[in-house]
Amino acid sequence: MTMTDTFAIELIDIDKRFGAVHANNKVCLQVKQGNIHGIVGENGAGKSTLMSILYGFYQADAGQIKVLGQSHTFTDSHQAIAAGIGMVHQHFMLVENFTVLENVILGSEGGALLANGMAAARKELTRLADVYGLKVDLDATIDSLPVGLQQRVEILKALYKGAKILILDEPTGVLTPQETEELFRIFDALKQQGVTIMLITHKLREIISVTDQVSVMRAGQMVAHRDTCDTSREELAKLMVGRKVLLQVNKKAANVRAPLMKVKRLCVADDQGVMRLNDVSFELRAGEVLGVAGVSGNGQTQLLEALSGIINMTSGSVEVLGFTMDAKNPITPDKMRQIGLAHVPEDRHRMGLITHFSASESALLGYHTDPKINSGIWLNKNRVEDNCKALMSAFDVRPADPHLKSANFSGGNQQKLILAREMERNPDVLLIGQPTRGVDIGAIEFIHQRIIDMRDAGKAVLLVSVELDEIMSVSDRIIVLCDGQITGRIDASDADEKTLGMMMANALDPIDPLKTMDDQLASTQQASAQENQV
């Protein structure tokens, strides 16, 4: 058996349920040693569950795991680590007030006392850093490091524990394109040293540019395996969603009128005093959708929350619907609603609704003081229910039961309930964050259409989304946020992914990692597809 024929990982008929959800349904996967193997799928397709099973974090209900030809049953991560598997989680697993060194040795300290183990670890880490180009200050505390370096610590941690197979779960979600490029360079170094890499992502571009093989998951099942050189983004996208994606939204030309919101030199600092929004200025006009693009975590959350009055700004001013808000004169979220500004929050579970409440009570969130629902001091239950029923029928929320607990609706229906609540009162300005996150395809089209309807009715819509396709198809104008600053402004008709990508990276100079990727893409597209059905 030659090197290339040995499988680093073999998963056979892995099955896992969480209650009624069948997260992994007889999943099979073979990963060749020394390769970079991509696994793609939509949110909730079961990728992360599968990797957590491989890493011993969850136990499969059925199925077999083989690592380097040997059968294993992992009941905890320790056994997976011992078998040579390392994992870099989407949310870093680091103790923030520990140093890099302390974080790396946690779990493999080399003896009951720290002193000796620490010294040995320091030596070994210096060596690893040299071999793989993973430079980082071992005595810095994690909370003082930027995200890109924290990820490096995670990779170092895995390598220090002897990982021969490295799983990375959505590693680029929080990175700028430069950091992403740096990460891919590290991949190359790892590959040369014989490390097998499994890359979990929903970004097809990355898959095409760095992987050797790719497997596609959909609704808990593994639906296809391809050699990367034999496939294309279009094909993978089709496999992921199961039908042709129609991301073109039907819309007529915008009829833009006077600005309803003027944001001037807006700055927002967080609790630690870090500037999350820096000198942001723009106008939002009636009859347009203004898209806000950017890698998540670049100030979008702060923008939405500052504009809706949830958090206070540090400096600057916002004129909205005839009112002016600045650091000294905040406008509270309830006042904002009264003057005609509605806000669909990015995270529906954290802010959008109260999962313990019935649908009718969640449909009241933000409007519980409305005189139409109160009779004197009494919150009128009948009117609360009628309100909810009206919203449910307007946005086709299913099941249309106001008594059902909010948690028991599907993601798409929860989102529709929130959109109904915020849109049915006809606000003049609508702030909307990640409207289609975790929402099924059918609902996505519906939601996009409603946003366009609002704009056509002469309202102003600010759309924040990390999905570039969504931004490009729904918006009329686009601004790009990077590190809390506006790094690009462009009409949607002139925008393409390449330009937006450059703006998102704040890299207006011609060194463009994405460009080279596209060249690669063009050359691989001629190759014909070859099905590898499970």
């Binding site: 890493y55 680091l94 103790v95 009951a112 720290l114 002193a115």
Partner: protein, 324 residues
């Protein structure tokens, strides 16, 4: 002059005696909270230990047997706390309160049924207690000014558990900051998911931390019942578990500063006793209640951020759930 000196010495001596259970209990709380488990139940565990120590010692006649059983009982309660909050992810504060109330009732009920003395345990003779130890050379060194009396009144003449308390603190420091267990303990209180993904068991680590806390509360309770006193009386811990908790916060969850906080609170207690009915020149008589209330007041003020900030371990109070 020498009278004042002696008074100061005796007050400090009393401070050591009063601080001892606080220090041991606060160290118990330190292990629990550093591991991410809030331990309101220090009071209950100490009370249970006090009852167990006094009962066993009264029956068997050996303070060491009392100590052993006290530690077992206290560990049992710690495991109950773990079962509720770690295994079943129940509310840590509710569980702690439950233990405190349960023990407050049970110690009296069992005492009454077993000893028929209205809820007290029999008074102990000296053989069944931990007695003061006179350190060597006390009399030989007595002639040295200042240091002689200091050695005699302050350092010598305590029971073994007092010395143990002061020995425990550096050991705790060493364990927390210099050992593998300590590293994992601190990690599990800050970010249990990181510990889990490192292949370590969050559950086991937290149980271990509670177990150590149980042993320590056992010692603290024993001290109160059969070293500092000579029998168990109803509610004899009288809020010392809560004071230890306050000291733990006041000392910002660090062993040495926590010990200093315990000594400060102990000193205030000793001072309250000494100042009872004494008129101070220029001030008059300070009401005992004012001094008694000071530890609580100080903790409230510290927690409110008026004198520095007390930031607890990030994961304390939150049950660990593997996210889906």
């Amino acid at each position: 002059m020498s009278d004042v000196f002696l008074t100061v010495l005796l007050t400090l001596d009393a401070t050591f005696r009063v601080s001892t259970p606080l220090i041991i209990a606060a160290m118990a709380g330190l292990f629990a909270e550093r591991a991410g488990v809030v331990d309101i139940g220090l009071e209950g565990k100490m009370l249970a230990a006090a009852f167990a120590a006094a009962s066993v010692s009264a029956v068997v006649g050996s303070p060491w047997a009392g100590l052993g059983v006290a530690m077992l009982v206290s560990c049992g309660l710690a495991m109950l706390h773990g079962f509720a909050t770690i295994t079943h992810r129940g509310d840590q504060v509710v569980s702690g309160i439950a233990i405190n109330i349960l023990v407050a009732g049970l110690s009296v009920i069992l005492g009454l049924a077993w000893f028929h003395q209205g809820g007290l345990t029999p008074a102990l003779d000296n053989d069944s207690r931990f007695l003061s130890i006179t350190l060597p050379f006390v009399d030989q060194l007595a002639f040295i000014p200042v240091l002689g009396p200091l050695y005699k009144e302050l350092i010598s003449g305590h029971n073994i558990l007092v010395y143990l308390a002061f020995a425990i603190v550096p050991i705790v420091w060493w364990v927390v900051y210099r050992t593998r267990f300590g590293l994992r303990l601190r990690a599990v209180g800050e970010n249990p998911t990181a510990v889990d993904t490192a292949g370590l068991s969050v559950v086991k680590l937290r149980y271990k931390a509670l177990l150590i806390g149980g042993v320590l509360c056992g010692i603290a309770g024993t001290y109160i019942a059969i070293a500092h006193n000579a029998q168990f009386t109803r509610d004899m811990t009288a809020g010392q578990g809560y004071i230890a908790l306050a000291a733990l916060i006041f000392g910002k969850w660090r062993p040495l500063t926590v010990m200093l906080a315990c000594l400060l609170f102990g000193f205030l207690d000793a001072l309250a006793v000494r100042l009872q009915g004494v008129a101070l020149p220029g001030i008059g008589e300070i009401p005992v209640q004012v001094i008694e209330a000071t530890p609580y007041l100080l903790t409230v003020i510290l927690l409110a951020g008026f004198i520095g900030r007390a930031t607890p371990p990030k994961a304390s109070g939150i049950a660990y759930v593997k996210e889906r």
